[in-house]
């Protein structure tokens, strides 16, 4: 059996396989995309999860098969269109008719999009800084909460120092979570004091600073033992996640020397000036204390003293470089222009007939 690389039937099969991949990835949580759901799946499936792991179904977009399908689709698009338009040209001696132009533009734009997406993937840089108000971080590998760069990205650091001055909200009095970050970016040339929010990034050369997808409360927790020694003193970035349709702000701290485990949750009814936290203290899995504590309050249990002196907010700041993005978007628009041209020409032909 021979495979005709330029055939429409092959295009059908490849698109069908691509759809199948996408449907599978929509059903099975993917690594680096939906980690929480993936953990649930792993727990639920137990040993059977090994089948998904072996087949690479939890990382479909990084499997060789996926790349092969995309590659074949690109080849099919290229060969199919060259063959198709060559035969049209041999008969009509022109490709400048609207219906040909539309189809050419659409299909070659798809090739352009694929090339631009691959180039962007190879050279892109996307990192996440998790910052609490008042914190300053330097552009160093250890500063990043999460970092991704394409295989051909020329890794460089020391480009800036970033300070998160303030996380502002539309209604500061309520202490509701902010949505605007006041930042100061110090580069080799200048210092920029600016604000970033969703839809309004800050650009520094090729880098963009975006207000990240996550933010939350960052209270300072202060724990001392009976002798007054500091056991823990730090701003804790309380994790913010959605559970059963509601946002919860919950986290924990551990004092290994004392085998002490403190569960902390922002009391959802207290969000406002009188913000309060529910805490549960466990030592060797035995509950020492369970109760509520407000800002500037101190509670004592088993010789320990626990205080929440200050409250700040934290947010993610994404640092992004997407060198070939404009080419991707150009491909998008030219594909749509081609499709529209084809459609208009189709309507004209129908009218003429």
């Amino acid at each position: 059996m021979t495979i005709n690389l330029s055939s429409t039937r092959l295009a059908f099969v490849l698109i069908a396989v691509l759809v199948l991949f996408l449907v599978l990835s929509a059903i099975i949580p993917q690594r680096d995309i939906s980690e929480d759901q993936l953990l649930d799946w792993q727990e639920y499936l137990g040993d059977n999860y090994v089948v998904i792991d072996k087949l690479g179904l939890d990382r479909i977009y990084f499997t060789p098969t996926f790349f092969i399908v995309l590659g074949l689709l690109g080849v099919n698009l290229l060969f199919g269109n060259i063959k198709r338009f060559r035969s049209v040209y041999q008969v009509e001696r022109t490709l400048l008719k609207t219906r040909h132009l539309g189809s050419i533009l659409f299909h070659f734009s798809l090739i352009l999009i694929m090339v631009a997406v691959i180039l962007n993937f190879l050279y892109k840089y996307h990192s996440v800084l998790a910052m609490t108000e008042g914190q300053t971080l330097k552009d160093r590998p250890e500063s990043y909460h999460h970092e991704f760069h394409g295989p051909l990205y020329d890794n460089e650091y020391g480009r800036f120092t970033l300070s998160l001055t303030d996380v502002l909200s539309n209604d500061d009095a309520s202490l509701s979570l902010g949505n605007v970050a006041a930042i100061a970016v110090q580069s080799a040339r200048a210092k920029h004091e600016t604000e970033v929010s969703t839809n309004h990034p800050f650009e520094l050369g090729e880098l963009q600073f975006h207000y990240g997808l996550k933010s939350g409360y960052s209270p300072e927790f202060f724990l001392t033992d009976s002798a007054g020694n500091d056991l823990f003193r730090s701003f804790v970035r309380v994790a913010n996640r959605k559970e059963e349709g509601k946002y919860v702000h919950r986290d924990f701290i551990v004092v290994p020397e004392d085998n002490l485990h403190l569960e902390i949750e922002v009391n959802p009814d207290s969000i406002g000036p009188d913000i309060a936290y529910r805490i549960t203290a466990l030592q060797d899995s035995v509950e020492l204390y369970a109760g509520s504590i407000g800002s500037n309050d101190t509670v004592g249990f088993a010789g320990y003293k626990f205080t929440v002196p200050r409250l700040r907010q934290w947010c993610y700041i994404d640092v992004v470089k997407s060198p070939y993005l404009n080419l991707v978007f150009f491909g998008f628009w030219s594909a749509l222009a081609g499709l529209t041209l084809s459609f208009v020409s189709r309507l004209k032909r129908a009218k003429a007939a």
């Binding site: 055939s7 429409t8 039937r9 295009a11 059908f12 698109i15 069908a16 691509l18 759809v19 996408l22 449907v23 990835s25 929509a26 993917q30 995309i33 759901q37 977009y61 996307h126 539309n170 949505n179 605007v180 929010s197 969703t198 839809n199 990034p201 963009q208 975006h210 990240g212 997808l213 959605k242 994404d318 992004v320 997407s322 993005l325 991707v328 978007f329 998008f332 628009w333 594909a335 749509l336 499709l339 529209t340 084809s342 459609f343 189709r346 309507l347 129908a350």
Partner: protein, 272 residues
């Protein structure tokens, strides 16, 4: 939702239900008067929905396609608008039968969603929202119209149609196929603009143009499915019947992508 808005919403829903029942009478009793009533009632539904949308726009300060509830009624509005614009050129149009039924069911579904109107949040306050959301609802409406043409074609092929109940009220089968294809390609363009504008907006908002979010993913799946339908039609010279069934299945994925995904997945498209 104010009491006036609630009245307009339910009046629209009832008008669509009445339009469907009046339209059903046409092939059963070969009653043209009932069909004309069906058309008038659907026009009344369109006017009522326009007033409803305008009131909501004034109340919230943004076009009514931000929440799931709003996007669903706007899709119904677009579908009715397409039908009545087409009616100016072609009469009688047989798709009112499935279209009024689907519109009625969508209004019913919308009534089960949170109807609260609110101003735009910071994340949504962007010009791309209007492009992205309006093309999403218009694209969905176009696919629903294509699926309606397919449904009429399939209905005409049944024993019911062969008995002549529908036969003399239907346009030719080739004309139905052509209309299905036209609205499919038109929907493909609108849906494509929705995906592209969404990715441009996502890049401005979060620094990533594609995040594999479930709604993004299912929108791409439905776009590719329509591409698959077109390629199958070309490669195998599909029968009209198979083509129509494929169009209906693809339309179901569009409905799922836009309004069903939120029931199953957590998504960054949390707008209602």
């Amino acid at each position: 939702m104010s009491s006036t808005q609630a009245f307009l919403f339910w009046a629209t829903t009832l008008a669509l239900a009445a339009s469907f029942f009046a339209t059903v009478l046409r092939p059963i009793f070969r009653n043209e008067t009932a069909y004309r009533w069906g058309v008038h009632l659907s026009l009344a539904a369109l006017i009522l929905l326009t007033v409803f949308g305008a009131m909501r726009w004034v109340q919230t300060g943004h076009p009514p396609f931000v929440t799931l509830f709003e996007s669903m009624i706007t899709a119904v509005w677009f579908a009715l608008l397409i039908f009545h614009l087409m009616r100016l050129r072609t009469t009688p149009l047989p798709i009112l039968l499935p279209l009024s039924l689907v519109s009625f069911l969508m209004m019913g579904w919308a009534s089960s969603m949170p109807t609260a109107a609110s101003p735009l949040s910071e994340a949504l306050d962007n010009v791309w929202l209007f492009i992205h959301a309006s093309f999403a609802t218009a694209g969905a409406a176009s696919f629903l119209v294509a699926a309606s043409f397919s449904a009429v074609f399939l209905l005409g092929e049944t024993r019911y149609g062969n008995l002549g109940r529908l036969g003399n009220t239907l346009p030719s089968f080739s004309s139905l196929g052509r209309s299905t294809l036209n609205f499919l390609i038109f929907g493909l363009i609108l849906w494509g603009v929705m995906i592209v504008s969404g990715s441009i907006w996502a890049h401005a908002a979060w620094g990533r143009y594609w995040a594999w979010d479930p709604i993004e993913l299912w929108s791409l799946i439905s776009w590719l499915l329509y591409g698959l339908v077109l390629h199958a039609r070309m490669a195998w010279k599909l029968s009209q019947r198979t083509f129509c069934w494929m169009t209906i299945v693809a339309a179901l994925t569009v409905v799922f992508a836009l309004w069903g995904v939120g029931y199953i997945y957590e998504t960054i498209h949390e707008y209602g």
